[in-house]
Structure formats: C-alpha cells, structure tokens
Subunit: 320 residues, 2 copies
C-alpha cells in the first residue's frame, strides 16, 4: 500500500510508493563526467576567463586573479540578476514588477577539475563552507538584499553547465516563496508547541533521511544546536559540518553510483537571523527521479523509496 | 536589465533574464522519438498488455479490450496511488500520514503510435478532451477523492516513459498544495475586486503567454466564459478548446522544433466546482530550461524569454 506523508514544516504531502522501483541498483544512470578535455574557466591558469574574483583563499604573496588559490569566488559570467541599480518596485494594473537586482556568484571549490566535492580533503570542504559564510556576511551589508541562497548543481541532470566542482550563491531582493513557506510552517509549530520544529525532528545527530522526502535518498543535515542563520554557526561547527557533508555525499555516491545531485542551504532571511522557530540546514537531493506534470500540477512528489529503507542502505555502506 | 515579475494569482516571482539565451533557435534539443520499434502496450492489438480499460470510445459491436477503439482509458500499470481501501488518516507525534488511496489512469489518445497530439484530426483531439471529462465526472462520484489532476508528459525530458501519445489522470484524497495556493490567491483577488483574477487577465481570447511565465514559451489556454471546473464546460466549448490546444501545440512545435513538453489542466476541486473566483485553464510548459538548485531553493524561476517576445515568435509562425 502506498503511503501519503506530510512534511511537518511546509505541509507538503509526498507519496511513498513502494510499488515502484526502490533499491539503489534500480536507479541506473551515468555518473557526471569530471574529465572533459574542454578548456575550463575554473581551472588554474584560466583566472582571466571569469569575472574578477570577489574572494579567494590563496597563498601569501600571490596576486588576485592569478594561480595560488585554493577556494575562489567569482561573479557568475551569465548572472540571473544584476548587481548594479535600484529596485524600482512598480505596479501596472494587475501586475507587479521590479528590476532584477541581486548578486549571482560562483564558489569554485577546488583547483582539481577531476574531483567531486566529497573527494576533497575534509579541511578543504571546511574552507568551502567558510567561503559560503564569508560571502553571506559580506552581502548582508547590502540593504537591497533580503535573502541569500546557496545551492549546488552537480552533474548535467542536476542542472550544472560546467563540470568543475562549484557551488552557486544568489542574493535576492525579496524573500522567496519557498523560504516564506518554510518560515511560516516553522512559526506555526512554534506558536503551538513553543519549540523549534527542526529541533523536534532532530533525533538523529546531524545527518538523516526526513520523514516525508520528495526524492529517493533525500538527506538533510541539521546542526544539533539551534541556530537560524548558516553564517552564525561557529568556526568549530564548520569542522563537524564538513565531516557530515563529506560522509553523507560519500555514502550517497557509493550507494547510487555517483549520482547527479543538488544541495541547498536553507537559512534565515538577511534581516531575521535570530529566530526561535527556525533552524538552518542543508538538503541534499540526488537526481534519481524526474519531476514532471504530476509534480507541477500538485506540488506533491512521488518517492519510490521510503526514507527508512534509504537510511538503512546508506548506513550499511562501507566507507574507505 | 533583468526583470522580476509576480504572478497575480499565486504570488510566485519569476526572473525574466534577457541577458541569457532567448530566441527559439537558442533552445536546441532533440525532438521526442515517436517511432521506436519496441513493443508498445498502447498499440492496437496489445490491449491485453494494459490493465482492463475503464473507458473506450469504440466502433459499435467491438468488445472491451480488443481493437476497434479510438480513445482508450486504462488504469496505470504502475499506479502512484492505489484504488482499493480506506484513507485511515493518522498521526504519529510530529508526523501525519494516510494510506496512498487514489486513482491513476492513462488516456491513450490515438491508435497511431507515430503521431503527437497536435497532429491528430481536431475531432480526435475533441474526443480526447471529452474522455478527460467523462473520467472526471465518473471519479467525482467517489467520495474519497478531493482533487482530480489531468496532465501530459510528452517526451523523455518531460518525464514520459512511453512515447505513444497519452495523458494521465490522478485522483487524490487531499487537495494538493499547488492547487490550494492557486485557489487562495484567486480568492484574495476576488475579495478585493469582486472579480475573477483569470477573467481579469483574459484580454486575449483563449490562448496567451502569461505575465510571469516560469518557462520560455509557457502558454495558457483559458476559456472565455467563467467556468471553475473543466468538466462543467459544454460540448460546444470542447470543440473550440480542441482547436485552441491544437493550434497552440502546432505553433510551439514549429517554433521550437517539436520540444518535449508538459501540460496540466488546472481545475476546481471535486467538492467546490462553482466558484466565482476560480477559472479552469490549461498550462502548457515546453521543456527548454532545467529546474535545478535555484528553483528548488526559492520557488522562483529564471526565464530567459519574455512572454511578449515569445508571443511574437508564436504569432509569426506560419501554420499549414
């Protein structure tokens, strides 16, 4: 019997459909290539092929936009939003619009074109996370921005257009609908229980399969201590986060033959960073199923693998 | 300058990003194949390869589940929801669940394996639309169902697993989140203006590009008269709907080299079919861009083609 389950935060129902394919080996797909011989603007020596860097962790004495970096952040060459200008909110009859102002940056995670994030040394993953934080802290100084989204598209099926391992950051002038829904759902729970709904679901430390996952092997990473904004976590917490992210990705890679995946950092809006009811976290979504008409029409998801089974498969993976 | 636009119904913001690719020819992709020699369960003569039909328009004197049909509706062989059983709503601490009860059917639109929907005779398209209606009317008799979704996945990139032209129908025991959002948004507009928001945007007859489209060449088809539920339209209206759907798909096919696409029938829930504030319609979404981390994280969409430009391209297409 398939089961309908409701996410306790946003109220999104999912269908856990055990009649459909469900074991890791049922999700066949080719791993993203990381070996193309095409010239890559993120490779060392090609620093002039990207817009000038806004941040880089680099060897002492090396110049900006030259080799010597370990993590490098540059504006997206084809930004979805433009950094210069005012918002100019306006209405025309039924319709509201504003200028597409925002920041769109790329965090280049490594100099090594052939490595996926989880294959980097843990310290390097920690540096990448720290670069996320540094950029958020800087961009929050810009009063035009209300939300800063950090997300990773890994592999073509997950929407990546360049294979060199990278994460993206977009600062938006309004709080996105998906974020508002999450905040509203969390606030509703807090008003009822006077407890953070994420703290309530955090039986397992740091990394777990959520109750109502949209996708097979969807995995959330939740800091144990209650912090609303990603950038407010302490340096020491980034170390254990790097470990947790690396291990989760390694298990997913091994169980599912290196799938294409997305992850998204869910964090508080720029101006509301100390919320009793909200808890920042990362959601990892391997691309194993297709989002199509049903999902578009309903906002429902059909998931052929229960989170209990997925958790068991991932636990049983032998690492290293 | 990119532009942010807000959908006047659901309040979803989109980014019209003219800095990115935007002409029809910039969306390169291969058309779905309609010629595979693999055995197809929807072909004439293979009626025993599907579950027994629940509806068929067929020649007088022919038997169910044999050749002689023109449109045939069968249960999905791998249903997302199961037809037998009770809902058994229950809670476990933080978590709500219920049995995955519902109907999942397939409308086989033609006996001709090689034709895409818009290539069928208009009368056949009308029959397909009428089959949608007949199934909705029948399933609404089942008190367990609250919503009936009709959607089409055409082409592998749009989530189709069989190439033979078909549409799907799913009856769900709750009103999906995406539907509730649309209803709530429409109600808010009605309370303010005492007018249906869809009637307000219906300057153009029947087929148009919406103000804030999520995807390039997203096209909506809206009946001119105010009707909330698809199945309440009159027989005569199905004739002009068949024309409008055919012409829209033909223009999209010609402009974009036969793209993979989804369409979704947006209609009122089972128990609220006479709403002053809601207006049924069809949304056609060619699959030209990828939904990835940014869209997952925000609920925003980045659309590289403005609807004004898309409308112009589609208008200029010479048909037949």
């Amino acid at each position: 019997m398939p089961e309908l389950r409701k996410d306790p935060v946003v109220g999104r129902w999912v269908i856990i459909s055990t009649e459909r394919g469900r074991r890791p080996s049922d999700f066949n797909g080719s791993a993203p290539t990381l070996s193309s011989s095409k010239p890559c603007p993120f490779d060392v020596g090609n620093e002039d092929k990207t817009p000038p860097e806004v941040l880089a962790y680099r060897e002492a004495g090396t110049l900006p936009n030259t080799p010597g970096w370990t993590v490098r952040v540059v504006p997206n060459k084809f930004p979805a939003l433009q950094i210069e200008g005012g918002l100019d909110r306006r209405g025309e009859g039924l319709y509201d619009k504003m200028n597409g102002i925002g920041a769109h940056e790329v965090i280049i995670e490594t100099t090594d074109h052939t490595k996926e994030l989880s294959e980097l040394p843990t310290e390097q993953i920690e540096n990448v996370l720290w670069a996320f934080r540094d950029r958020v802290v800087d961009l929050k100084n810009d009063n035009r921005f209300r939300y800063i989204l950090i997300f990773k598209n890994h592999g073509e099926n997950a929407g990546a257009s360049l294979e060199h391992s990278h994460t993206q950051l977009v600062a938006t002038p309004i709080i996105p609908k998906a974020v508002t829904e999450e905040l509203d759902g969390a606030l509703q729970h807090y008003r009822l229980k006077e407890r953070c709904v994420f703290c309530d679901m955090n039986e397992h430390f740091v990394s777990f399969e959520p109750f109502a996952p949209r996708f097979p092997f969807e995995t959330w990473i939740l800091p144990r201590s209650h912090i609303s904004a990603f950038e407010d976590s302490q340096k020491s917490e980034f170390k254990s986060l790097a470990h947790a992210l690396q291990e989760s990705l390694q298990r997913i890679n091994k169980a599912l033959n290196r799938p294409h995946y997305n992850f998204i950092v869910h964090s508080a809006p720029c101006r509301d960073t100390r919320l009793d009811h909200y808890h920042w976290h990362i959601e990892i979504m391997p691309k194993l199923t297709k989002v199509a008409g049903f999902e578009w029409g309903t906002g429902f998801y059909i998931n052929p693998t229960s989170p209990e089974e997925a958790a068991q498969y991932l636990r049983e993976i032998q690492l290293g």
